[in-house]
Amino acid sequence: MPAVQETIDQVRSIDVDQYKYGFETEVEMEKSPKGLSEDVIRFISAKKGEPEWMLQWRLDAYKRWLTMKEPNWARVSYDKIDYNDIYYYAAPKMNPAPKSLDEVDPEILKTYEKLGIPLREQEILAGVEPQNRVAVDAVFDSVSVATTFKEELKKAGVIFMPISEAIREYPDLVKQYLGSVVPVTDNFFATLNSAVFTDGSFVYIPPGVRCPMELSTYFRINEKNTGQFERTLIIADKGSYVSYLEGCTAPKRDENQLHAAVVELIALDDAEIKYSTVQNWYPGDAEGRGGIYNFVTKRGDCRGKNSVITWTQVETGSAITWKYPSCILRGDNSRGEFYSIAVSNGMQQVDSGTKMIHLGKNTTSRIISKGIAAGKSENTYRGLVSAHRKATGARNFTNCDSLLIGNQCGAHTVPYIESKNATAVFEHEATTSKISEDQMFYCQQRGLSEEEATALIVNGFVKDVLQQLPMEFAVEAQKLISISLEGSVG
């Protein structure tokens, strides 16, 4: 595998400073007043030019949120968050809103260039086969700054736009589906998001349409003291198909920043959604200063029969990760899949996993989770598989493996497996191990350095999951994993 060599080269080229997306962009910003109040929510809603029902929805969520407590069941610890010390809205000054890329602040365009995210369609078209094209929605702090290939997608009937636009242009679709998978009252962070979400992507694939290209959103937190609260809503109507990718980065800062997103997926009869995440928020420094708190609620609803939702995640960033992309298998014969690689190093804390809720008949689910803990990090898999009374013939297979590198980290597995139907068959297996000395010796005897051997073996360890990612992203993810483990050997 040539990618291994590439990985190693990449690892070598990196300085002590491993996080290469840690730069800051200087642009003039417009912010809401600091802190959270009804007025701030009205401010956000007004900025977005939202209809009254949307504002009301937010205010209801806010009222609810005030009565809620932060969850404490996850295996993570952090100082109390002061929710009034955060800017809930921060956007580059763009008056009036840019009509094309040429009107976007060149500094922002440069940012995406540096991040390797193509925003100019002509440039993308130049070197890429049509089937490999990716449409991008670029979200910068609280707003979407550009969305590519909108017109072409529109021809296929696909709606791909910032959710703030969708609220204005397709209010009926939004009203019908928003909050239908993750209710406003779902949990502390989801409720907060419902009150203050600023942007995110909206996707609608009409019946029978196979989305002609990959869709993706690139999230960038730039501004200090801001939280990012994006909201993504994807609806795959009957018989349609879409593959969606999300990527995230943030500058290096000593303070912690909050990212509390909500993603809702809805797959109707015979539809399929593939949702892939490469999460590389700033993880904090070696002493655990700074980094993103990634408290995310992601849930897919296999609402129709024979529908399929696949979550694939490569989690290497964030100081704290708290996310459980889940599937509600409501439609008969529907299928949910969860493939995850979670790498933690330094002082990172990961508490992640999935929920597979089997409600319909003959529903199947599959969970493959690979956790790699290094440094002084804590890495927990937490998952729920349940079959309800009517879930005749439900099937689940779960495999979660953990690998520990070094003796100061922790790897934990906390599965909940609940069956209320005798015909449901659930199989769960989990292992924790280290890279075997025999394997290391064998590789080293063949001439690989310890670091190379580790990269090779780790790549083998996560292969099942990487295979689930679209090709380009798999290579990217592989590099990222090795970079994240930099310095963990020896």
Partner: protein
């Protein structure tokens, strides 16, 4: 969720009252009892929001507190023990309890097998016996509310010391024979000195129809190079709510093997807290649970590897008929210093009919990198292919099912070393299956 202070349930109020009434009568240090009860009372009965009791909500299950049983007369004790059948085929030193009280007369203290010493707990508590300091060998078990209740109310029990190789098994025979519902709280401490070995049988029997509420704790301190074989049988009556705890601290190069077989109780919860404190020790904790009707049974297990090079194996098998519910919660903890740990935990459940439920929660908590740990959990029906294979050989369906269920539970029971005890358990399984068909 908003923080709500839970109202005290009638059962919780009754427990406070029961403790007030009993505290002056119970033997021993009143202060440590009061402290344990205070700890319990501060949180109340555990409910489903308490992680460790997520699947066994004692707040909902314990509606009414039964009165604590009084000391039986000699005749009552004799009659009760006469009706006891558990491990009847096993020749063993009998250490009997009736209604939670040690039956002193039944033990010939002058002629105990060599290497065995027995001290009645009631007297020990009253006199402040030096062995009392050895109680609570697993410190973190003391945080458990069921254990705290036992510490608050423990009225009787024994302390046993084993030195050298004891051939005769020791049988702790618990029989509750009261006609109406009673609560009992017994505590047994077994200290197995270095290089000693012992087989310990434990049986719990009570009559059907009464909502008995036993809460039994067995604590063991197994020294270095010991061999402990522990076989526990729950044959409580069909209305009993049985809570039990095994807390074991185990030394180096030891061999510790414990099984709990559940064939009774409306509701039961058996908690095992084991800590491996010396190197090169082998631990095996097994379970075989048979449930029918609306029975509910919970096996909760925490194994801490606290030394290098230990091996632990946990195998729990649960058969669920009708609308019964099985629970398995197991956790293996490996701290930084317990390198070369080899831990394997498996929970398998068979649901024989629609309507049954199984909740599995097998956990790993690992901080050492040079370890091999694994857990597995399965639940499902009998394998159709196996059933067909057996039927193709001429076995009627029910018989084929029985054979497979026997084999399924047998995989856990086969680790019982004492042949007679193993046979008794196999017969228990057969009896259960016969009652089913």
């Amino acid at each position: 969720m908003a923080d709500v202070t839970l109202m005290k349930t009638p059962a919780e109020t009754a427990l406070v009252q029961a403790f007030e009434n009993a505290r002056t009568m119970l033997p021993g240090n009143a202060e440590s009892r009061a402290q344990a009860f205070e700890q319990f009372n501060a949180r109340g009965l555990p409910h489903r929001r308490v992680e460790e009791f997520k699947y066994t909500d004692l707040r909902a299950l314990l509606r009414e507190v039964a009165p604590f049983a009084g000391v039986p007369t000699a005749e009552e004790a004799k009659a009760a023990l006469g009706g006891s059948k558990a491990f009847a085929n096993v020749a063993a030193l009998q250490v009997p309890f009736v209604n939670g009280h040690f039956v002193r007369e039944a033990v010939d203290f002058a002629n105990l097998p060599e290497g065995i010493e027995i001290v009645p707990l009631r007297e020990a508590l009253a006199s402040g016996h030096e062995w009392l300091a050895k109680l609570s060998p697993v410190p973190w078990a003391s945080d458990n509310p069921v254990y705290q209740l036992n510490t608050s109310f423990m009225a009787d029990g024994v302390m046993i010391r084993v030195a050298g190789s004891v051939e005769t098994p020791v049988h702790l025979r618990f029989v509750t024979a009261a006609g109406s519902a009673v609560a009992t709280a017994t505590r047994v401490l077994v200290v197995v000195e270095n290089d000693a070995s012992v087989t310990l049988l434990e049986s719990h029997e009570s009559g059907d129809g009464a909502n008995h509420q036993p809460n039994d704790v067995v604590e063991m301190i197994a020294g270095d190079r010991t061999n402990v074989q522990h076989v526990r049988l729950n044959a409580e009556g069909d209305k009993a709510l049985a809570l039990s705890t095994l807390a074991a601290k185990i030394g180096a190069e030891a061999n510790f093997n414990s099984i709990n077989v559940v064939a009774g109780s409306a509701t039961s919860r058996h908690q095992v807290y084991a800590i491996l404190n010396g190197e090169n020790t082998n631990l095996r904790v097994n379970g075989a649970t048979m449930l029918k009707g609306t029975q509910h049974s919970d096996s909760t297990l925490v194994v801490e590897h606290n030394a290098l090079h230990c091996e632990s194996r946990e195998l729990f098998k649960t058969v669920i008929d009708n609308e019964a519910t099985g629970v398995f919660q197991g956790k293996i903890i490996v701290p930084h210093h317990a390198q070369k740990t080899d831990g394997r935990m498996m929970s398998a459940a068979l649901l024989l009919e629609e309507g049954g439920s199984m909740n599995n929660k097998p956990e790993l908590e690992i901080f050492a990198d040079d370890v091999q740990c694994a857990h597995g959990a399965t639940c499902g029906q009998l394998d159709e292919d196996l059933l067909f294979y057996l039927m193709a050989r001429g076995l009627p369906k029910k018989e084929a099912e029985s054979l497979l269920v026997q084999a399924f539970l047998g995989e856990s029971i086969e680790f019982v070393e004492n042949e007679d005890a193993r046979e008794a358990l196999v017969a228990t399984v057969e009896g259960w299956l016969k009652a089913r068909s």
